[in-house]
């Protein structure tokens, strides 16, 4: 909180501020409004006083006596309008509706109507100060109160239930609820496709300059064990070919300080990364530090991003996520000390997430990060790779927090972690991992088995499933290999 002095003056201002406070439903926003406005006002007052102290003449003039308080009020209203505009919905119509609903004082509404003319308002305020200082005008001083009252009376004369646009000074709500700030598009569609990029309805732009081919996706969805270890590891349904989820990675490439003078070197680094990724077919997408999205391996094809990995949703278990999940790589490092993602990457990541989720109907539950799915079947430990094992901004991507979800590797297949892993992930496991370990114990207890015995059984089962996944992959790899050979002469698809 900002420390503040002069509680007496505050009482007066607080009354004004209070009239607007109830516009803010959320406690923290109301607190911030009250706190900010009053603190800033006290600040302004102090500054003005300090300044006036240097001009004793002004202070002695009658003009000063008469208008000092009004000048302060004017400042206050300016602050209030500014603060209100920061926190209320962005659409003008919405705000007015809110104001009317909440029976805000007429003055508040009028101030809103006039917010568009705020620069004029500021200029007027400034002019007022100038006039005051020069002492040129003593008869017709423009004051906040007069404008306030004048407009207020005028506004209240017009019919308040009249919702037609075009009434003087008032913009009414015409925008449907769809366009409110929190609106999330259900469906994102391709707006245009050019030679080297695609543009989507949510503003996302995908560069196809580095696009390349790999083998077609092919994977089985495997059943949950549901605590009983004798469930047959027979897959649910047929071989699938569509992406089932999104998996986020870090490139772990070198990062230059993100400043304007490094501009070209940053781009050079990115090009190096993109070429490497294309050569190795490492990911389906790369998002560079300027927020440009590049498609590398086409969506319907598997990229080599996940290695040994496992994840699950309500339908079932996915083993070997190269085949089933789309790999999205951010150009950044896990140990990036200052900021891991640039603002541009956050935005681009969110847009790409929307595009892919919309196109393939991907569930929130299937959008996860590499570190949470990566396993090492040799020693049955999790976190073989640990990119994004913490700090991934799920919320910013419009996703729920997967650090809270118990990884199936631990809870069903009996993978574990050790002190080394704990140290590598920063000293503490994410909550889901901890919960999953307990869950596995619970299962063992329910099955009347020692945890270690169940662990042995489940590891065996995991190996079977890995084998199954390998087979499904091999068949399709062969197919695509041959079909690609046939396609060699065709132009690459767009």
């Amino acid at each position: 909180m900002i420390p503040r002095s002069g509680t007496e003056t505050t009482l007066h201002y607080s009354k004004v501020v209070e009239r607007y406070a109830h516009l803010f439903d959320r406690p923290e926003i109301r607190l911030r409004f009250l706190n900010h406005t009053l603190a800033l006002q006290t600040d302004c007052t102090d500054k003005l006083n300090g300044w006036l102290d240097r001009f004793p003449l002004i202070k002695q003039s009658k003009l000063y006596e008469r208008h000092y308080a009004r000048l302060l009020d004017l400042l206050l209203y300016r602050l209030i309008v500014r603060e209100i505009n920061k926190y209320l919905p962005t659409s003008m119509g919405e705000r007015l509706r809110l104001l009317r609903q909440q029976k805000a004082p007429v003055a508040a509404r009028v101030y809103f109507s006039f917010y568009q003319a705020r620069y004029l308002f500021h200029v007027a305020g400034l002019a007022f100060v100038v006039l005051l200082i020069c002492g040129l005008c003593s008869a017709t001083v423009w004051s906040a109160h007069r404008v306030n009252n004048y407009l207020a009376s005028r506004y209240s004369k017009s019919n308040p239930t009249d919702t037609h646009a075009g009434s003087p000074g008032v913009v009414y709500a015409q925008t449907p609820a769809n366009y409110l700030p929190d609106y999330k598009p259900e469906k994102v569609w391709l707006v245009e496709r050019k030679d080297n990029f695609e543009r989507y309805s949510n503003g996302g732009r995908i560069s196809t300059d580095y696009e390349t081919d790999n083998h077609q996706r092919a994977y089985y969805v495997l059943p949950h064990t549901n605590g009983a270890m004798n469930v047959q590891a027979k897959p649910i349904g047929e071989l699938h070919h569509e992406p089932a989820g999104l998996l986020y990675h870090t490139s772990e490439s070198d990062l230059l300080p993100f400043t304007a003078d490094n501009n070209e070197s940053i781009e050079t680094h990115t090009r190096g990364l993109l070429e490497y990724v294309r050569r190795n077919r490492s990911y389906n997408y790369v998002i560079d530090r300027f927020g440009q999205i590049y498609r590398i391996v086409r969506d319907e094809q598997a990229a080599n991003h996940a290695g040994h990995s496992v994840w699950a949703d309500k339908q079932g278990v996915y083993v070997g996520l190269n085949e089933s999940f789309i790999g999205v790589c951010f150009e950044t490092r896990s140990d990036a000390s200052v900021e891991q993602l640039t603002e541009a990457q956050l935005v681009a990541g969110r847009l790409l997430t929307q595009i892919l989720r919309s196109r393939y109907q991907i569930d929130d539950a299937d959008c996860v990060v590499h570190g949470l799915v990566s396993v090492n079947p040799d020693n049955m430990r999790i976190c073989y790779h640990h990119d994004w094992v913490r700090n991934f901004p799920f919320a910013a991507m419009g996703l729920s927090d997967k650090y809270q979800v118990a990884p199936v590797a631990i809870s069903e297949f009996g993978f574990t972690y050790d002190d080394d892993i704990i140290a590598q992930v920063g000293g503490a496991m994410w909550p889901g991992a901890v919960a999953a370990l307990a869950e596995f114990d619970r299962r063992a207890a329910a099955a009347n088995l020692k945890t270690d015995d169940l662990r042995k059984q489940m590891r065996e089962r995991y190996r079977q499933q890995m084998e199954l996944a390998r087979k499904s992959r091999d068949t399709t790899t062969d197919q695509t290999e041959s079909s690609r050979a046939l396609d060699q002469t065709n132009t690459p698809q767009g």
Partner: protein, 347 residues
């Protein structure tokens, strides 16, 4: 966003903060973390520990029971929520890293243990400058000098976890969580284990803050002493489970509890009067103020009525009181208030 876990609902032990703002109530008895204003989503750890000489056998047992502990070359420390169970299991009294609202100077392990407990509730910050408000007692008898140290140690430690850590008066936190409709104008009182904290707030600004060095522990300690009990556990359990301040006491124990409860309340009300008369810089408050009561010690049946009675019994109050009410969830009010303060600073 819908959340579709692939697992049956899991009890998650140490959720990460969700919004980038955290409130932390660091009390003598319990530490409470809030990263949402919903009281169901707060997390609590007992601010206590049990130390036993290190032995492999005990360590095995602790591991089997999934207890939270730490081992150094000499001792095993069971801390946080498990300390209660382990203390009764070992038939010893749990120890406290804090005493009377501040770090306990008599416990050499106090800082280290508190850090372990706090880390269970709030792991590292995920981003730079994540704001965390932690509760701090107000000035008062026997507190003043130590407060500076207490605050600096906590701030230091929380900053090392990556938070932009700031202190918030505990009474003020109660105001933030409970008096939104009054535009954060009113009196917040937190009746804790180690002390009671009061803040008189006007439009979100603390005008008067102070603490008294009496609380639940004071009641336990004195009742135990006057009744000649061996330890305070029995007294505390009776107090927490059966005490009803609206009924006349039936036995010695409840009589003694009544007496010390009244003592705590009287001290608090007297101090409040005294602070009002002493403070010269108060604005003329133009309205009646609500009083909100929170904290573990405020939980017995009849507490609210008792407070009201005693307030009235003392004659005219220096300011007008509109009503006295209980916090929605007295045990988490401070943490939630800290969270609101932290949220209010989010960009």
């Amino acid at each position: 966003m819908e959340e579709k876990n692939q697992m049956p609902a899991n009890k998650v032990e140490v959720p990460l903060p969700k919004s980038g703002a955290v409130g932390l109530d660091i009390g003598t008895s319990r530490i409470v973390a809030a990263d949402s204003s919903d009281s169901k989503l707060t997390r609590t750890e007992l601010n206590a520990f049990v130390a036993v000489p290190a032995s492999d056998m005990i360590e095995q047992v602790l591991k089997q029971k999934h207890m939270v502990f730490e081992r150094n070359c000499k001792n095993l420390y069971v801390y946080g929520n498990d300390s209660d169970f382990f203390a009764s299991f070992m038939n010893v009294a749990a120890r406290r890293p804090m005493r009377d609202g501040l770090l306990n100077p008599q416990e050499e392990q106090s800082q280290h243990i508190m850090q372990l407990i706090v880390q269970r509730l709030v792991p590292r910050a995920r981003r730079n400058n994540e704001v965390l408000y932690f509760s701090l007692p107000g000035k008062g008898e026997g507190v003043n000098g130590k407060l500076v140290y207490h605050q600096a140690v906590l701030k230091n430690f929380l900053s090392s976890l990556g938070y932009n850590a700031k202190p918030l008066n505990e009474g003020q936190a109660v105001v933030f969580s409970e008096l939104q409709d009054e535009n954060f104008t009113g009196i917040g009182v937190s009746f804790g284990g180690g002390m009671c904290n009061v803040s008189v707030s006007f439009m979100s600004m603390p005008m008067i803050t102070f603490s008294i060095p009496k609380g639940g522990d004071y009641i336990d300690r004195n009742v135990t002493e006057v009744l000649g009990e061996a330890n305070s556990t029995k007294v505390r359990l009776e107090k927490e489970e059966h005490l009803d301040l609206s009924r006349a006491p039936k036995d010695d124990l409840s009589r003694a509890l009544h007496i010390y409860y009244e003592d705590v309340l009287q001290t608090l009300i007297d101090s409040l009067r005294a602070e009002f008369s002493a403070s010269s810089q108060l604005p003329k408050i133009d309205r009646a103020l609500p009083v909100v009561l929170a904290g573990g010690t405020a939980r017995p049946a009849g507490f609210l009525q008792k407070f009201e009675q005693m307030l009235v019994a003392g004659g005219e109050f220096p300011i007008e009181i509109s009503d006295v009410r209980m916090a929605k969830d007295p045990l988490t009010a401070t943490a939630r208030g800290c969270y609101i303060a932290a949220m209010s600073e989010m960009k």
